[in-house]
Amino acid sequence: MSRLELYSPEGLRVDGRRWNELRRFECQINTHPNAADGSSYVQQGNSKVLCLVKGPMEHGANLAAGTKLDPNGPVLSLNINYPPFASNERKKRPKNDRRLQEISIILKRCFMKTIVLKNYSRTAIDINLTVLAMDGGLLACFCNAITLALIDAGISLYDYVSAVSVGLYDQTPLLDMNALEENDLSFVTIGVVGDSDKLNLTLCEDKLPLDKLERLISLGIEGCHRLKELMDLQVRVAGGQLQERQ
């Protein structure tokens, strides 16, 4: 069905990876020390996402009018900025793009169970995501970027949430899909909590044979654990730098 050979008989994908290889993962934290309480930059292959976290604070800028602060936990507001230049189509997205709205709700609910709520009663936390370039793995990049930015902001989390997408080519699961693969193959995005096998979020929007699901998820979990390791390393490095001279 596709004009491109997504997975060659020799076991190579369009970008030269094998089925179980992640794309190059780079991340930084504290990228915008003056603009926000916490900030991060995540690069998965050619997908680049920036995340700024403001708060916890009592007066959220993104708070919808009339929303009251919750005595049991923070009010998360999540704003996704997806400019036309970030993707190949250069399509201008309508303001209330249902797909982005859905993603923002999913992420909000995901992190409401990850933040130690009881420490942040009556506060607001604003999360701003900006896509600089998108080459697949939108939700996964968002999720990883938010985790890092929240950690950078010093907000209490139970654990890391790392996410990755896994697709299916015929019988072969493919880890960390790029945009070309996402266009033609069914895939599932999963978010894993720390080093456990527990899933915080799963999102699958295309048809997948049920009996293949287990393989995809187990590959995804291993990918997530690897990402978590990489993120953890970066947090420690950045923390060490921050501490050096205090």
Binding site: Y158, R236, Q243, R245
Partner: protein
């Protein structure tokens, strides 16, 4: 299943890990249930985990994790700089850069007409004449509420509305806690280094110049010792008689004094020095600030100090000097 990825070679993580025991969220700190669990941790099934990225701090039997970064959390006795954001029923709401806004009760400020005056309803009605939205003030944390938000007071002459200067915000973590947070600096300029990271650089007031220089000289010696110890409210404040004399409407004036160009230049130089230290993540105290100021004089024009690389080199020079002196 093996996942092979091109990973940047692992930097020597061991040096940070072993030295000050850095932990990240979800990391197991101890499975010994006898520890008391402080901030930055959570406890499940007899095990204590970290909830932030930071260093483990053990005080007696209390285990907590100090995050690398984070918002300021107030403690009683902290000397702060804050900004009024709301005037409410008998209280002001003050932004202090923390998770919660602080409150300043009408009863916790000095009003014109002396300290022993009763607060009347007319005071309630003219609260905006004292302090209004946007005003900056320095104050002390009087007490904390159960949710960690602070109640402030300005019942001392050294606290109150701020004038004749410029506001600088730096990360609160960089402010080194000391006995005294207001300093008179060379160049006829003073600074309040709010514990919350909000700072105020202003022209040294004429009347108090003499008083303060005496007190700061004394505290300079004690700077290195950590500011723990006993706290007494209004510590180091001025006698009541002076207070009464000065508690006039003047303390709530909005008018700045005429500042000479040289003072303005010095203030902005200090501001840039402060930002240089902040950019280089150097803990800020009076000595380092003065050193940075001295170094910056070598760069001549104040305008140059806006440049990032200049700031970086100022910061590095400060550290280098410190090391030299430490060695010598």
């Amino acid at each position: 299943m093996i996942i092979s990825i091109s990973v940047p070679s692992k930097p020597e993580a061991s040096d940070t890990k072993a030295g000050s025991s850095v932990v990240t969220p979800g990391e197991l700190i101890t499975d010994d249930p006898t520890w008391m669990r402080g901030h930055g941790t959570y406890f499940l099934n007899d095990k204590t985990y970290s909830s932030v990225a930071g260093t483990v701090l053990k005080v007696n039997k209390l285990l907590s994790v100090v995050p690398f970064k984070g918002r300021y959390s107030p403690e009683t006795g902290d000397h702060l700089v804050g900004r009024i954001i709301d005037v409410g029923q008998k209280r002001w709401k003050v932004d202090i850069g923390g998770e919660h806004d602080a409150v300043l009760m009408l009863g916790s400020v000095n009003l014109p007409g002396g300290i022993l005056r009763r607060k009347s309803e007319s005071d309630e009605l003219q609260m905006r004449n004292f302090l209004k939205e946007g005003d900056l003030l320095n104050a002390e944390v009087q007490s904390l509420f159960s949710d960690g938000s602070a109640s402030l007071h300005t019942r001392s002459l050294k606290y109150g509305k701020l004038r004749n200067g410029v506001f600088v915000a730096v990360p609160s973590k960089l402010i080194v806690r000391a006995k005294n947070h207001s300093h008179d600096l060379p160049g006829n300029v003073s600074i309040i280094l709010g514990v919350n990271g909000y700072c105020w650089i202003y022209k040294t007031p004429l009347s108090s110049a003499a008083d303060h220089s005496a007190s700061t000289a004394k505290t300079n010696a004690e700077l290195s010792s950590a500011a723990s110890g006993n706290y007494q409210p209004g510590q180091g404040s001025v006698s009541i008689t002076r207070l009464e004399q000065e508690s006039s409407w003047d303390i709530y004036s909005d008018k700045n004094d005429a500042l000479s160009a040289s003072i303005k230049d010095t203030i902005s130089r200090y501001k840039n020095c402060l930002l240089s230290l902040s950019q280089c993540n150097i803990g800020i105290n009076e000595i380092r600030l003065v050193r940075a100021y001295e170094i910056s004089l070598g760069y001549g024009d104040t305008n140059l100090l806006f440049r990032e690389e200049v700031r970086q080199s100022i910061g590095e020079d400060v550290i280098a000097q410190e090391k030299m002196r430490g060695a010598g």
